[in-house]
């Protein structure tokens, strides 16, 4: 009976350990994906503001030349 209990307990520990690793891995991957998404969104924002500045500069150029 002791043996059975011991083996069952060991199995439970093993299972918990395995699942823990999987969860950690999943969490790490999710964090990495979120970080990539954040960087991408910042990059897109930077790109859009750069384009806005460039187009505004062109507009200013045209209006100044008209003076």
């Amino acid at each position: 009976m002791r043996k059975v209990l011991f083996i069952t307990a060991m199995t439970a520990i093993l299972l918990v350990a395995c699942n823990g690793k999987t969860k950690e891995k999943k969490a790490a991957e999710a964090a990495q994906a979120a970080e990539i998404q954040r960087i991408d969104s910042v990059t897109a924002e930077i790109d859009s503001i750069k384009n806005v500045i460039d187009s505004a500069a062109v507009e200013v150029d045209e209006l100044i030349n008209e003076l």
């Binding site: 083996i7 991957e29 505004a56 200013v60």
Partner: protein, 224 residues
């Protein structure tokens, strides 16, 4: 009795460990397995088709069973398909040309629509190469960071150029305004001309203010 209990517990352990191991292994090779499945599937389909070509045609002559295999074969390059394994579409299986992809069989080339369909999806995830899982994620993160640095550098250049333009434009606007007032005083221009010119100057000044605001916004974003 003891032996039975021991055996049962051992069996339980083996099944549990196998299940846990399979779960973790399945996640690791998920993407790899899909690729292999795609490569293997067409060959199996072709073999099946060669064994019973008549049966397949009898079942559904308009839409042959091999069509699904064709779709999967599209993923493979022409050289890998194996010319000897598959019967010529125009000779042995004339009914097959009646399907949707009859043009492809005739010309031997894939239509542009199919190629475009294959190219759908995220550009970053399409060409993973040999990278998988964690490695791909790290490479992708590095790529994203590099792209961000590049865009930041470009934004810095735009901000610097914009600031120079604002300064230069303000000087030009001030000069134009002074000249306009002087011309008005000297009665060199009519009232309507004055108003027209003033409107242009105001418009230019507004554009410069807008540019300055955008530059400020760009600086704030860059500082984040």
């Amino acid at each position: 009795m003891k032996n039975i209990k021991y055996l049962l517990s051992l069996l339980l352990i083996i099944s549990l460990v196998t299940a846990a191991g399979t779960n973790t292994y399945a996640q690791q090779v998920k993407s790899k397995g899909k690729k292999e499945q795609k490569k293997v599937a067409p060959k199996e389909k072709i073999e099946k088709h060669e064994m019973h070509p008549k049966d397949t045609l009898r079942m559904n002559p308009d839409k042959p069973k091999g069509e699904k295999g064709d779709a999967e074969l599209r993923d493979k390059p022409q050289g890998e398909r194996g010319s000897g394994e598959r019967p010529e579409p125009g000779k042995d299986r004339p009914e097959h040309n009646m399907g949707k992809d009859s043009t492809r069989h005739e010309t031997g080339k894939r239509p542009d629509a199919e190629i475009e369909k294959d190219n759908e999806g995220h550009a970053y995830g399409r060409n993973k190469g040999d990278l998988e899982g964690k490695e791909f994620g790290q490479a992708r993160a590095e790529q994203a960071k590099m792209e961000q640095h590049k865009k930041e550098f470009e934004l810095g250049n735009s901000v610097m150029e914009g600031e120079a333009k604002v300064k230069e434009s303000r000087e030009k606007i001030n000069a134009a305004r002074e000249k306009l007032e002087a011309d008005r005083k000297a009665k060199k221009i009519s009232e309507s001309q004055y108003k027209e010119k003033k409107e242009k100057i105001d418009k230019a000044e507004k554009a410069v203010n807008d540019l300055e605001m955008e530059i400020q916004r760009g600086k704030e974003i860059k500082q984040k």
